[in-house]
Symmetry: C2
Subunit: 683 residues, 2 copies
């Protein structure tokens, strides 16, 4: 008797011999080949599509004849007529192995298919979501062997999918009987298998084969904006992205004001919790509508956020985060029912995963950045900076990762700046000052043209020129310094000292006039001395945080810098270094990671193993608390200056000395009480 046919799967290279007539799906399962199937091999879900190759394969030592697989059968024919099979494709559950064969599993048929998450970095997310679909045939009820419908469903899941234990929420118990009968006891079940629990939760049940997919929301819950990515849990594809303002802004622009609001107003934290939960429901509905997807099909959410938002999302009074020792109510990851967060717009059994917090001031958003940027896997020493109202700073390589948070305040986002505004159409986002003429040119959001280019007026006519956003103000300050209009200490020179009428007097100090449309009733956009001070405070805080981590690590330089945060993408590395926001590294060693926190959320949404990974990583991160480190204060003060090659007008220093830094970290010699009262730390 001749040998059983040999089957070789690509790309895995797994191979084995199987008796003639074995379905390809069966062989794949026995070999542990990653071949998807929802219907369990019944020829109805089409997830197990494969492509047989014919010809000679020296690498695999196989010659494949045309009859190596059984003939195209009726199930495949029907499927092809109804839905269409790509040429050369077969259904793995129908095609039987009849002779030696090489079978390719295309990416879309792999359960753990990999999704390129960012063209630039070519990194991938391997799909391994917590919630998946399972099609089963349930035994019909039998009076002589009475068992519940749920118990027979459980039996089917055990028999067909090896799932040992399920838990069915009572909100679904009410639907099991009608759905089973509607589906003639064939149903699709969405099961959530947590990484911390051995019991699978039944999230949803549909009659017959459910073909409308399953979706998840990766949510970056920021102090100012809430951004969500609606993600297909099967393919990893982002179907829609949307953001809304965090309505908690009405209780305080920055986090510390929100903590104060909760302290001053009994029940204030409950108001803020209700506001953000409302907004999340609105966001879920909007994003589903945009993607044309039933909100009911959203079965998972993942949250990343800073500690204050984390607590306010959970309904926890953030008061402890406003005072030393900055104790989190809970630091580890949280797995819970989305409905317990009042997320009623999505599936009522949807689960929520909240990434772990790193420390009282270093939140789940920083953990998400660590998951996305993986400083702990970097061979060279990388500094990852997520710039927002707070900066989350990570420093590390394969040997060790350190993290801290630094209270940069809202200046980098254009807030508390005289002509500042959020990054929106009409905002000046880039600016250059000619070192000779001292004249500015700029670009506004909504147009790719610079202000001195043809067509700029036309392209900006609709939005107007309304103010300066975060990246614009950073560039403006750096350009002022490079154009010799400002000294080391940050003082803008007078028109006389600088020789340009753009330097205008404002009280005892000066401002630089960027754009003046006041004659036409438009805005008069300047960068004034207060703005420079705000940026100095912010950049000093950021730099001091990075330096503190470098001290802890015992280094005085880093190999590369990654700027993360929605805002990170827009900062010019050169200007950031001129300003002294980040330690000096070669310009080509500064990269932007985009919204790394949001990406981290997406990874945790698509891959349950990433949750285990980040929980492990967070435990190993060295936490550095900026608020209690005297050296932070030292670095902060030292970082205030904006040194450049030449000092254009040294005499000015004597006129207006740098005002005392009003930023106080709450530590130091003035005692805890005084420190606490006076502290303006933005947590």
């Amino acid at each position: 008797m001749s040998q059983d046919p040999l089957v070789v799967f690509t790309p895995s290279g797994k191979r084995g011999r199987f008796p003639s007539g074995t379905p390809v799906l069966t062989a794949a399962r026995q070999l542990g080949v990653d071949l998807d199937s929802v219907c369990g091999g019944r020829g109805i879900c089409s997830k197990c599509q494969i492509t047989p190759s014919y010809g000679e394969f020296s690498k695999h030592g196989v010659t494949v004849h045309e009859d190596a697989l059984s003939d195209w059968n009726k199930v495949e024919e029907r499927y092809d007529q109804k839905r269409g099979l790509k040429p050369g494709r077969r259904l793995g559950c129908q095609a039987q192995i009849m002779g030696d064969v090489v079978v390719d599993v295309p990416p879309e048929s792999q359960v753990h298919r990999q999704v390129v998450r960012k063209a630039a970095s070519a990194r991938v997310i391997a799909m391994d979501p917590a919630t998946r679909l399972y099609f089963v045939e349930v035994d019909e009820p039998d009076m002589h062997e009475p068992t519940g419908d749920l118990e027979r469903l459980e039996r089917a899941l055990r028999r067909e999918w090896g799932i040992e234990a399920i838990r069915c929420d009572q909100t679904l118990l009410t639907r099991i009987q009608p759905v089973l009968r509607k589906g003639k006891f064939q149903v699709t079940v969405a099961l959530h298998k947590s990484h911390t629990d051995t019991i699978a939760r039944v999230v949803e049940i549909w009659p017959g084969l459910h073909e409308s997919g399953l979706y998840g929301l990766a949510i970056d819950l920021g102090s100012t904006t809430v951004a969500a990515h609606l993600t297909d849990l099967d393919t990893g594809e982002v179907k829609a992205s949307a953001g809304i303002m965090n309505p908690q802004i009405r209780f305080g622009e920055d986090l510390m004001s929100r903590v104060s609001y909760a302290m001053m107003n009994p029940g204030g934290e409950r108001e803020m919790t209700a506001a953000v939960r409302d907004a999340l429901n609105t966001l879920a509905l909007e994003i589903s509508a945009e993607a044309g997807i039933e909100p009911h099909l959203i079965v998972e959410t993942v949250f990343v956020c800073n500690p204050v938002m984390h607590h306010l999302l959970l309904g926890i009074d953030p008061v402890e985060l406003g005072q030393a020792p900055f104790a989190l109510a809970t630091s580890e990851s949280i797995s819970m029912d989305a409905r317990d967060l009042d997320l009623t717009a999505i599936n009522p059994r949807a689960r929520t995963y909240i990434l772990p917090c790193i420390a009282g001031h270093v939140g789940a958003d920083a953990a998400a950045v660590a998951l996305s940027e993986e400083p702990g896997k970097s061979e060279d020493l990388v500094l990852v900076v997520d710039v927002g109202t707070n900066a989350e700073i990570l420093l590390g390589d394969t040997s060790r990762v350190l993290a801290c948070s630094s209270p940069t305040g809202p200046a980098f986002e254009g807030a508390q700046i005289s002509s500042g505004q959020r990054a929106a159409p009409g905002a000046i986002e880039a600016i250059r000052i000619d070192p000779e003429t001292k004249e500015p040119r700029f670009r506004v959001i909504g147009s790719d043209k610079w202000s001195d280019e043809d067509g700029f007026a036309e392209e900006t006519a609709a939005t107007g020129i309304t103010g300066i956003c975060g990246s614009g103000i950073i560039e403006a300050v750096a350009e002022l310094r490079m154009a010799g209009l400002m000294d080391d200490s940050g003082l803008i020179g007078s028109a006389a000292a600088t020789g340009t009428p753009r330097c205008v007097a404002e009280g005892r100090t000066h401002a630089y006039l960027v754009h003046d449309a006041s004659a036409e009733g438009g805005p008069r956009i300047t960068v004034n001395q207060g703005d420079i001070r705000a940026i100095q405070l912010a950049k000093s805080a950021l730099y001091a945080g990075a330096r503190l981590l470098m001290d802890e690590r015992g280094v005085d330089k880093v190999d590369r810098v990654v700027l993360a945060g929605a805002f990170g993408a827009h900062i010019s590395p050169k200007h950031a270094m001129v300003l002294g926001m980040i330690p000096d590294v070669p310009l080509d060693k500064v990269t932007s990671a985009g919204n790394a926190a949001g990406t981290g959320a997406r990874i945790a949404l698509c891959n349950v193993g990433a949750r285990i990974e980040i929980e492990r990583v967070v435990r190993q991160i060295t936490k550095v608390e900026t608020a209690i480190e005297p050296r932070f204060q030292e670095h902060f003060v030292a970082a205030n200056a904006i040194p450049h090659k030449t000092d254009p007008f040294p005499e000015l220093k004597k006129i207006a000395p740098l005002p005392e830094v009003s930023f106080n970290t709450g530590s130091g010699g003035d005692g805890a009480e005084g420190g606490r009262r006076r502290r303006r730390r933005k947590v």
Copy 2:
């Protein structure tokens, strides 16, 4: 060097040698002696009280000197002043072993103390509740080692109590920080450890030592009444019992009418669910008020109920229970949050356990009876009958247990009886008819006197004589037969045939006049031919169910009968046998178990092991479905007669033949469709 002192614990007899100075509690723990402690040996909870014995103990071979334990210390002194210690008592955590000693652990210091649950049977419940108190000292937060308060609480529970994993609901997350700070990081935690889960749930947290106890509700959710026992989860003591009417009665008196209501009215099941959940909240508040206990301290509930009530409690449409094959939505036990049943009156983190159902018509109430009466542990063959609107019938011994449910209808409860009423003051509950004079005498609820005794009129003046309740009507029918006023077929004779004016004409048949107050404007209480028929139907159904189990078991007699159900306590065994309700056994072999279902609920509430036990037992019970057994129909018809020694007026049979039985079980030759349409089964 001499040997370490020997300590012998009574009543366990456990013994061991420990270094001088070892606290008694420590020794007890190391030996596995059942000695309670909530505070972990800090001398504040007083749970570990022990009594040292002095003198000579030949049994233990120990001579105990007065100095065998360390001196009374300050902690004990303070405790004694504040709360008082019984003479001879010591605190086990304070008293140190200094020499050989015999230490008695009094029952109230045992964790698994046993509670006598019924004086009559001397059976006990060993306390082993799912929810217990744990006192812990939590590490204070440390900025240099940032962890959440929850994680430090978890660490304390692991360190002090060996509890590996906890889950904290987000409704409690909001309270952890203030409670820890209020208790100066000493807190008492109520943890629920399920028998199906390895993770302990945090149910409640209190600052310092919580001394107001923990309570549970054992709830027997009947079709007509809902009865609850508020039970101390530490001592097992029932602090209060209360019952209310099931408000679902307005949707239908019996279960089948409620199923019909759900079928005929879209959303009808939701109305009924809301009604019963409302009532449960009312009941919880009433019973807590009665016991003087904060409803918040109720942290567990256990439910027993029939399958229709089970489904309606859970919000499941009971439609499938109204038609073959009578499929339950779920049959196994259910552990869930009480709040998911809208039980908002009690602790918001309270857990609920619902006993498993045995089959589509044999519910968690029958399982509770099995747990309480343990037919599977009986050496002789016992028939357990729980009589209510449905009868749950169990037959078994150590070799095998069988169960069925029989649709007796509401007649046994006084419903659908011409002069019938519920068992309430004023109802005739017992009746005797003199075989010579044919005159009745009776007793009404609210008085111990018979109607022919002195003082009866006075004692019943307040309530009046208002009707006949279930036990009264059973006795009346049996007495009519024994007095020769009724023939085998159940026909009441005429005044002429019986020679008593109490037999009065009513249309074509006759009635027996029990009490006539119509002259004074009061009721005229009779037992008429329709009443006899209703009782005949009910008793035939009950008997047929018992016989069916006996057939299945292959026996034609049983060794003993247990009558359970609130109503079981009031049925006279003699009358029940005259009527043919139960198979003949010697009168002394018929016992009453009281509310066995309620007792089963209490056992499951107090002992988590009992939950494992009943789940195992239920899986092994042989389920017999009466509705599809042709033999049930045969037994039912055969059981209709009420044979007695003599047949007083055989000629009557020809006049009024027994009307065709309108009760139809839905099986038999007329086809499933017809059977389903015509079925009047009371599930």
